[in-house]
Symmetry: C2
Amino acid sequence: MQERKPNAERRAETRAALIGAARALFLEKGFADTGTPEIVRHAGVTRGALYHHFEDKTAVFAAVIAAEANAVQADVEAAAPGRDREALLDGATAWFEAMRQPGRARLLLLEGPAVLGISEMRRIDRERGGAGLREAMISARPDTDEAEIEALADLVSALFDRAALAIEDGAEPGAYHASIRRIIITLGQ
Amino acid sequence: MQERKPNAERRAETRAALIGAARALFLEKGFADTGTPEIVRHAGVTRGALYHHFEDKTAVFAAVIAAEANAVQADVEAAAPGRDREALLDGATAWFEAMRQPGRARLLLLEGPAVLGISEMRRIDRERGGAGLREAMISARPDTDEAEIEALADLVSALFDRAALAIEDGAEPGAYHASIRRIIITLGQ
DNA sequence: GAATTAACATACAGGCTGTATGTATGCAAG
DNA sequence: CTTGCATACATACAGCCTGTATGTTAATTC
């Protein structure tokens, strides 16, 4: 008779193994081309475990996306702990650095919105790094109403997202960095 | 014995029926949630016809995306035939108008890149409206090297895309339009 | 320590994709 | 004008995948 671990620990380990395996496969091949049989094989469990922990394959994907977003936020906050303009620039650099992880941009910026929907992704972002950008917008243009601040922050993040995707796709980072800087400067005027 | 139409006509009609049916379903439910059995039912043919005309389901999707991109370009060019700055602003307005077709933004700006890949979508765009934006960038900032022009045009189109997606998702158009107009005008100075 | 429940594993049903094969008609050559 | 081939499909099939239903074992609770 094998001794088993306490339920809480067992549960946490299985869940982590599933998310880890799914993360690797989603990063490598994307959501549609990754099947649950392959995920559980890599995780060393069965599909029963997966469907015990997650409602469906999309829920596994959502958990992976959340974990990736957490990792990115951790990297950015480690590199730029403050809230001033200096920290914002460092944060941008760190964000681009974090986005160089292969497949990450596609997962977070392309498949995430496509699979989970815009609003769900917006919610995930808002619970994490999104607030910083809005604060920066407010400090840059204090006399702007809230809706426009919201839109501005969203548009600026669209610039970053597109640049990261283009770079992952083989574009020269230099031109994008320079152009983003130029657009943001004009925005600040 | 029924008389049949000449092959060329027959082929064109079947293909059009397939793309039309697929377009409606993709717009309504997206790529993943639309099956080929449903497409061919709506088109009044069988799956055999679909796989005779297209290599796989993704190829059908690519054809729909191309058709949608054509439709958008036609609308924009009809509303803004010129090449000057005036035409660019009119074109922007027309583009937003065209993007209000339900599901279109999600299809062209979200699922297209996710399913077909960034580079394929970039190719489709480049064969159509993309050139206009690049020309506008060049005329606005003649003393900029090509790579940066490329990046600038891509980033500006990212602003448009994000705005259209946000609007389709229920955001207030006003704030986005205002912010984008500000960016474009400032870039032109 | 008996009952309950959590954490899985196994088995199954249905649907979908892509391919292989069959068929009827258009079309072209002689 | 008919004979042979190619085109444009339709039908049939194999395999995979998803989600659910059911079974099993050990931890937990009372």
